[in-house]
Symmetry: C2
Subunit: 190 residues, 2 copies
DNA sequence: GACCGCAGGTTCAATGACTGAACCCACAGG
DNA sequence: CCTGTGGGTTCAGTCATTGAACCTGCGGTC
């Protein structure tokens, strides 16, 4: 057969292979359809840290504006974040983590643990501990002392030696202070 | 000010914004640089299920060949998989999960749990239990009865009602049987 | 009321990643 | 020698991401 195999131009599409993992009947695949895109999990991480405003995500993540807008839309549509007017500052918006978003905390924890264990050539960047008892959290965000999953709002976040001690953007500077997760990041409280 | 706003060209970058989350000094970001690309976590999931051969990943995932080749390379380079000649069938290769790859099992577990809890409109697709005691695993892959993290090789996987009971590809058919994680998928054992 | 600046986007061209399909090659068996 | 299979590579088309510029609505100031 010397002639080339001449492709059948069958309008293939039909199935718009978008961002869905076609035909994967698996809860991991379904989860990844929502949080599997580039930047998405980092946005959720920041939201759990207390970041709420568009410009603060922008400053802290260094993400392109268009991508951030898309991700915030997707996450809001998926019920991970909720967009609402800021009551303290009329005219502004804020994106707040919902219960569904809080449920992603163990995922971020365990992924961070893997990243630390695997590539932790340098010092840890942040510590997390159970505010009630001061114990450092286990790999999944559980409290080894109290023996249970710690509610996200009871997690205290402290800077580690791996963090830049004098960052440029105000959000990073705010996140250098010890703080509770979910506690809103306020940049210029007037 | 009629002239365009002429951004400050501060050479900011220096860091070639490739697939790395530039300047994110965070173990989650470092983890995502390895397992955050499209398809990657599903490849790892399949590898933990026991899939080892290029063509089996291809059949089970429905992933484009080129992407699969890239992912297998990346994961091998990152030490998550190991490529080696198949001893049972000379001339073939297999990709085997390393310890580092096994360490991703909790991540997949907790992500699957979130996907199930969040979008679990249909029935679960698979059950996982501790082979030693038969108890169904908790959200992070721990055994509620024995009270500890179950080693991946001691996890038994069973099909759930959400799975297609008569799939086309032989890998999916093999994965319908109850089996241990990591146990190699053998399609045509001759 | 005119002007300003900021928050929160949208638009754009250039580049890079993903897709499906075709092609390729080494090896094993007959 | 011919054929089939495993494990890729190549390619053109499409889609996503990037960085930068542009736009818009609002609240305050003079």
């Amino acid at each position: 057969m010397t002639e080339p195999k001449l492709g059948k131009v069958t309008t293939v599409g039909a199935m718009a292979l978008g961002k869905d993992y076609a035909a994967q009947e698996c809860s991991v695949a379904r989860a990844l359809e929502v949080v599997g895109e580039r930047w998405t999990l980092l946005v959720v991480r920041d939201a759990l840290y207390g970041v709420r405003r568009y410009n603060d995500f922008l400053a802290h993540l260094g993400i392109p504006r268009a991508v951030l807008a898309t991700r915030l839309q997707t996450l809001t549509a998926a019920g991970v974040l909720e967009k609402r007017p800021c009551e303290r500052r009329p005219g502004r918006h804020e994106y707040v983590v919902t219960e569904r978003g809080r449920a992603l905390w163990p995922t971020l924890c365990v992924l961070g643990t893997w990243g630390m264990d695997t590539f932790g050539h340098d010092r840890p960047t942040r510590y997390f501990r159970h505010a009630a008892c001061g114990t450092e959290l286990g790999p999944v965000g559980e409290c080894p002392a109290c023996g249970g999953l710690v509610p996200v709002e009871d997690v205290e976040m402290l800077p580690g030696p791996g963090l830049d001690p004098d960052p440029v953007d105000p959000v990073s500077r705010e996140l250098l202070k010890p703080r509770r997760l979910l506690q809103p990041v306020e940049i210029d409280p007037v």
